[in-house]
Amino acid sequence: MSDDSTRISRRAMLAGATALSAAALAPRLARAQGGAIRLGTLTPLTGAGGPYGPPMRRAMEWVVGEVNAAGGVLSRKIELASEDDQTNPEAAVRAARKLIDVDKVAAIMGTWASAVTTAVAPLCWESKTFLTTVSGSDTITQLPHQGYLVRTQPNTHLQIGKLGDFILSLKSKRVFVLAAQTPFAVPSQKRLAEVLGKGGSELVGGVIYDKDKATFRSEIDQALKAKPDMIYLNGYTPDTTVVMKELYKAGYTGAKIAQGYAVNQKLLDSMPAEVSDGTYTATPSPAVDSAGYKRLAKFLGTADLDPYSCQCHDHASLVVLAIAHAKGEATGTAIKDHVRKISQGGGAKVDNAVDGLKLLAQGKEINYEGASGPCDFTDTGDIIDCKIRYDQAEKGKFKQVTIL
């Protein structure tokens, strides 16, 4: 008798436990299938990247808005949580922690500065959150990210290789680098020395400076001592502004080249034309003829989109399509496993998320080609190829020189 009662109560307990755990699981399952998909944006709304962050974020909000208006991903709405990385690794880590721990996002999109991406990436791969970035430093895809990271910006190796070719085509013989302290400063300088050396030109020296200083007179003295005929200004806008003015004051008359994110129209507007005239800029060129680019340009109300807005448009589209391809599994791991299945390969070409979702719903394979370019990734998360546009400042405005 006593045996019997024990058995019954054990069975009852088992049943009870099962029921309880099922009850506990049920709402979670329901939420995972029917609730909103949460994604995060982490862009530089303030700091050196401040001019770029706001349109980057708007581009992603627009993609999400379009997808939601068209019924969401497998009938689930997407919710965006947006944070400001302040172009500052410490602030970025705090913001990323909030996105991962509080908002529980499946992906963080849009980190801009290489130092920020380097700081945020470990949080992402450890928490299995997918990270999409526009940072260019080589070191980023060399991190042990286990696939939880892709970038749409050409890496330093690719960009500087092309920049070196362009400098060679200008027949500059003595090139000097004035670089801000960033993760890409040293790799850039090495790569440039390599390319120039092969082409019969020479890197005659380089200075890496602290970009938060108010004046760089002494650094410029070092540069001019090397008697360069071309200076590569590898910094961000605030420090490059100062460096360019000081080069002019110091009487430097040789050529100058910089990245397009550093020497932009705002920089030209902030100084007299004689200081900036003749400066070349290199900008990864978005797919300006694509329909995706034109639609985004129309929405953002400008004919000339910066590459980062285009790339962020593609980040949001790629993430949404990868989730759809994973049958709605909105996790970083699912995005990691499916992003290359919708970004490259032999599927039907699509240039926006809404069309892609329709085709995926019909069971077709797709190959996303976005506003920034083909968006094809290597195993380590780099893009395979890109076009670079070269401009030259003339009377305070940019004039396109060539696209290579």
Partner: protein, 287 residues
């Protein structure tokens, strides 16, 4: 040799400009006994006030510097009255932390109005003068003159006017000054006005040679703080000596250090001075 001379020239120019906000910082410390880190945001406010006076108002640089002084000074008085004054009785640490918070708020107010973009003053950019292998810019010389004039005016004010003497009295012994009938509240307002005004002038002088954005003041606050500590917190001549020391040391460090480590010189200077001479080069009570 000419390299060392050039670095010395650069360092002295940088140090003289740094001295202006450092004096403001140390003067406020002398009277109110807490490190008022809002010097950073008031330098930015001054830089933007001068920018508006220069670009929209069409004033020349020297007149715009006057506007920078008045606006930053007035902002300093208002901000202190509303935010920091009520917190000061809770102790220097509370006030210092509140000042850090306030400076971030003020920086973002500037950002809210003018945005993140870089702005340059409406001034011609002139080539440097070259002389015996050395070079110095006309704008640097002008800045030097403005900085020296501002400092001279302050010294004359403190040494010869009744209000200046009252300020020194409160800094020296607030209780005795109170017994003598000096209104400590008025002196606090005055030192805030002068101190933050000087911070504003410093911010504008920094921007004149370069460009300004909402972080202009924040970028130099470490050097300003280092200058004041090295010279002796609370000592006005000390701030000048400290600023020149930091300016020259940061430049001369380039002889042996990569430029990326230049900011570390300020920290190293604080460490060395606090270890060997905890009261700073001139001590805290030197006038």
């Amino acid at each position: 040799m000419s390299e060392v001379a050039q670095l010395l020239v650069n360092g002295l120019v940088a140090g003289t400009i740094l001295a202006v906000p450092a004096i403001g910082f140390t003067a406020i410390y002398a009277v109110l006994r807490f490190p008022n880190f809002t010097v950073a945001s008031h330098a930015t406010i001054g830089a933007f006030a001068g920018y508006v006076a220069n670009t929209a108002g069409g004033l020349p640089a020297w007149a715009a510097v006057g506007v920078a002084f008045l606006v930053a000074g007035a902002a300093g008085v208002v901000n202190d009255e509303i935010v920091l004054k009520p917190l000061r009785p809770a102790g220097a640490l509370t006030a210092a932390i509140a000042a850090v918070a306030l400076t971030i708020v003020l920086e973002n107010v500037v950002r809210f109005i003018w945005g993140n973009d870089l702005r340059g003053y409406d001034l011609p950019i002139r080539r440097d003068w070259q002389w015996a292998g050395l070079r110095i810019g006309p704008q640097q010389v002008e800045n030097l003159v403005i900085a020296v004039l501002a400092m001279a005016a302050l010294f004359l004010f403190l040494a010869f006017t009744r209000t200046g003497k009252a300020m020194r009295a409160v800094a020296d012994n607030p209780m005795l000054a109170g017994i003598k009938g000096i209104n400590a509240d008025m002196v606090a307002r005055l030192v805030n006005f002068v101190g933050m005004g000087l911070a504003g002038v410093g911010g504008m002088l920094l921007g004149l040679d370069t460009s300004i954005d909402p972080l202009t003041g924040f970028r130099v606050i470490l050097s300003v703080f280092a200058a004041a500590v090295v010279g002796g917190l609370g000592s006005i001549p000390g701030a000048v000596v400290g600023a020149l020391t930091i300016g020259v040391a940061e430049e001369l460090s380039l002889l042996s250090l990569a430029p990326a480590y230049r900011t570390a010189v300020g920290f190293a200077a604080i460490l060395v001075v606090l270890t060997l001479r905890p009261r700073g080069l001139l001590g805290e009570r030197a006038y």
